[in-house]
Symmetry: C2
Subunit: 379 residues, 2 copies
């Protein structure tokens, strides 16, 4: 995609103003200084090897470290690093420039500044994604208080071969868990946080259960309200996880505690929940607790909505033009949207919607002209 002749990628950039109307939008984009000349950099990685400064790796949800000059995540497109001024010794103390010294193509450029670029476009697709719910406010789950209560995203990095542990599922002390509990609907289907269902958690929770069993052989428990395996092949995967011996407990978790009531619970995290099928409270002692956290609108959704004159639905996501017949349109002609900025959705549904949004934009362009009287943005 990065090398397609009709696609111009502007990464590390941000839209700062939009005006005009369908067919004729003017978009101001801030290209942030990355201090690396994109035309010279070959992505060889020498600068990152030589950089002596470190910071928390955001992509690994701070579970690992990265350098002050770094590529944000594996397989980034384009494969060009950026200097993080807040952790770079040259920006902080005025000396180092190790990256510059070792760069074989002379691509490091400490003189770069942010630039404002203006482009004219016929249509716009908003695909700003989502944030994940921070489970800290649900204090009874102990996130932040117990080392081995982690979020599903943290688990995702833990199990990834490019993650901080090289794909080993381990507890904070480095040991292998012998049991794990996966708690569904953390922040979803909860009137105190988000009333909506986040649509993807059941399936990634099943995947996580399968990965734990496969990689560690640990006993796995899933505490759920409803198993929502609605997509193609999903119910079949649920059955497979069940056949693999994953324990399904239907019920809402009351709390996670380390106060043991028996010998067997000592040194464990105890998940206390109502088993609605048994009809009573149960205590499940485990080594690791994974919280399947909700998807939520991005923190900057308000700002982005204002910038593009979008409306938002009651759940905070961007509002589609018509729920059934125009799920990729917005109230502004020529502005479309795709993916989780419109609401939680999984990869196949996101890809279908994204192709759809591209189709709408393409149809508009091939048409060659647009009707007058369209809504105007930012003027």
């Amino acid at each position: 995609m990065g090398s397609h002749k009709y696609i111009e990628l502007m990464t590390y950039s941000e839209v700062v103003a939009v005006s005009g109307h369908v067919g004729h939008f003017k978009v101001k984009i801030k290209k942030k200084a990355r201090y690396v000349d994109e035309t010279k950099c070959t992505g060889c990685g020498t600068c990152q090897e030589k950089c002596p400064w470190q910071a928390d790796n955001e992509f690994d949800v701070s579970l690992g470290k990265r350098k002050a000059i770094y590529t944000p995540f594996p397989q980034a497109v384009p494969n060009i690093p950026v200097i993080d001024c807040e952790h770079c010794a040259y920006f902080l103390k005025g000396k180092c420039r190790a990256c510059e010294k070792f760069c074989p193509t002379g691509a490091i450029d400490f003189e770069q500044t942010d630039q404002i670029v203006e482009v004219q476009v016929a249509s716009i697709i908003v695909a700003t994604g989502y944030d994940i719910f921070d489970p800290s406010p649900i204090t009874q789950y102990g996130y932040g208080r117990f080392d081995d209560v982690i979020t599903s995203l943290e688990f995702e990095r833990l199990v990834s071969s490019t993650g901080p542990t090289g794909g080993n599922i381990v507890l904070k002390d480095g040991s292998k868990p012998q049991s794990a509990a996966i708690i569904h609907c953390v922040g979803s289907r909860d009137e105190n946080y988000h009333e909506y269902c986040s649509r993807v958690c059941c399936m990634y929770s099943l995947k996580h259960a399968h990965q734990i069993k496969e990689k560690t052989g640990a006993e796995v428990y899933q505490m759920y309200i409803d198993m929502r395996c609605f997509g193609k092949g999903y119910e079949e995967f649920y059955k497979r996880a069940s056949d693999e011996g994953v324990n399904f407990i239907r019920g809402k978790v009351a709390k996670v505690t380390d106060i043991a009531l028996s010998e067997e619970e000592k040194g464990k995290l105890i998940v206390v929940c109502e088993d609605t099928l048994l009809g009573n409270m149960i205590r499940v002692p485990v080594d690791m607790v994974i919280l399947s956290v909700a998807m939520e609108p991005r923190a900057d959704a308000d700002e982005v909505a204002r910038l593009f004159s979008l409306e938002r639905s009651a759940d905070g996501f961007f509002l589609e033009k018509h729920h059934k017949i125009d799920p990729v349109g917005t109230m502004i002609d020529g502005i479309y949207m795709a993916g989780c900025c419109q609401g939680p959705k999984d990869i196949p549904d996101t890809v279908s919607q994204a192709i759809g949004a591209a189709a709408k934009a393409l149809a508009l362009i091939t048409k060659g002209k647009v009707e007058a009287g369209a809504a105007v943005v930012g003027e």
Copy 2:
């Protein structure tokens, strides 16, 4: 859509042969004789009024009647009727022709014959839809044996203002139900029939519950395994139905019977099921039972797959090129698919996918040329 200058609709037609490859498909289409000249008919409806012959209305799942000359469903595009030879007196007995006599534009043409048309197309989108599961084999549910055990599709017609009762929800004897049970997962999530989840039944069952409460005030029970309210606004609708007083019973239904064990059960249909939350068997006497039947691949899926060289997944639906990154593609370049022929899905997801498939076809055409070496169909 019917009047768009770049769209040629061929209704009442059937693809009979496909050959060629991406960019150059030859498609043979059988245009079935409708015995009405499309260029002359204005859709005034006089022929249907005057026709003295009736047949079961397939669109109303045989709950109502239609004439021998008829428009298959309300808002059909184009709004032009067709003569059903199997019920037309002229075709059966050689006389009548009332439609011809009364047609103000002379559009009736008994001399029409089936025609084979050949078209050249660059790409093809397969969107053949689905069939609904016939619940008769699940004999314990009593479909076909008890008048007031109906399918969700029959209920859909019953509640429609264009349906056989004008939108009145009534029992077979014409009276209003005072209670109804909606049984989920009939033919879905069932190893004896379809292992997969049909994705849409939970939500239409909630809609049906809401409609019954609103239109009749009846007591409504839903027997479900998991409530799968995954889409935008779906969980909120579930909560609303719950607030309206719909009774949710988590459990698989064992049988529907008319053998009363108490005074209160007399004259009722009794739904016998395990309430997995209470942990025991319960008996729910109701007036009407609605079976939320599965979506399944069309009966002619094998034939269509052969015609277009499509593959089928284990569930019998057509196989997409890649589940995540190409959900609208097939193994044959230039042939795409959309909607339920690929797997059960609801309207927003179908529309997104359909726009996506159109985009793929459009992208191919605007490209102007295709790479050599593509897979060939039917040669």
